[in-house]
Amino acid sequence: MIIIAVLTGIIALCSLLLLRHKLHPIELLTYWAFITPIEQLSYILLTENLHYVEINQDISVYLALRITDIITIPIIILWFLATIHSNALSVTLKTIFFVIFDFVFTGMDYYLWKIQVYTFINWTLFNSMLLYAAMLTIAAAFMFLFRFFLKKELP
């Protein structure tokens, strides 16, 4: 599993070269720094505080999840932000992309549950869908607010 996590992390990092053309470099850094703690916070709350999800405590699994939490998931969310800020897409298309990205993250949770990395105690995939929908919405809201200030400072 760690090999998959490392490979997807490397692919995600390489995709930053393309993302640079869609989002300003400062946006890439700031949004990543904003999204990563939110993702980690949800992970900690679900596992340590609420005990809704149990995680396999194997070190290699833990490292794989850390790589996913810090690199892969935030960069996928950056791609989502690049998509919804695009002027070329209609609101309907942006909504469709929102749903697609939500399904992608829910699918990742499903895969982790299927390979028994996650054990759902009091949690369902529908809850995961809602959680990731909230995360994407918060990320989008932050993006619109940050871009407002960034546009004032850029020539």
């Binding site: 700031t30 904003f34 709350l45 505080n49």
Partner: protein, 169 residues
């Protein structure tokens, strides 16, 4: 028992430390304005991310090298710790860096000095204020972490300088 955020077991010295630590923001607002809103938000969010990532990586299972505040679970004050107490010292360091622009050994000295100050603050918070309870961690490890953190902060301010217009930093 499960909760989204746990309250402190008792509102005692470590919670008062947090409230006192909020005062470290005050001098920042009396210093001449140095960071634009974008730079300020980026630095703040970056340090929040660093602090939380480091703590979540090693303070919870499977490593569980230390506890923060009263409980092993996440409390309200733990969450606020990342927002309000980690960033100010980075701002002061970056303020000094951006004002004096030290290079080579002076820059190394600046990073080392702030790492030592951070270690002293952490040692105080462990020894007397019970903000952290070490279960396998030592202050020396924190020293290395602070060196990395402040070096990354220097990289971030240089990154911001490169990508923001000269008149607005």
């Amino acid at each position: 028992m499960s909760m989204i955020f746990f309250p402190p077991i008792k509102f005692d010295v470590n919670e008062w430390f947090f409230l006192f630590a909020l005062l470290t923001w005050v001098p920042l607002f009396f210093l001449p304005k140095h960071f634009s809103p974008v730079s300020f938000v980026t630095i703040w969010v970056f340090n929040y991310c660093l602090g939380q990532t480091a703590d979540y990586s090693i303070a919870f299972k499977p490593f569980d090298l230390y506890d923060i505040n009263d409980r092993p679970e996440l409390e309200y004050f733990d969450f606020l710790l990342y927002f309000c107490t980690y960033p100010p010292i980075a701002f002061y360091m970056l303020y000094i860096y951006d004002s004096w622009k030290p290079k080579k050994w002076k820059l190394s000295f600046l990073i080392l000095a702030f790492a030592v100050v951070s270690m002293l603050l952490e040692w105080t918070s462990v020894k007397w204020l019970h903000v952290f309870t070490y279960k396998g961690w030592t202050i020396l490890y924190s020293g290395f972490v602070y060196l990395v953190v402040y070096s990354l902060n220097i990289a971030v301010i240089r990154f911001l300088r490169k990508h923001l217009p000269r008149t607005v930093r």
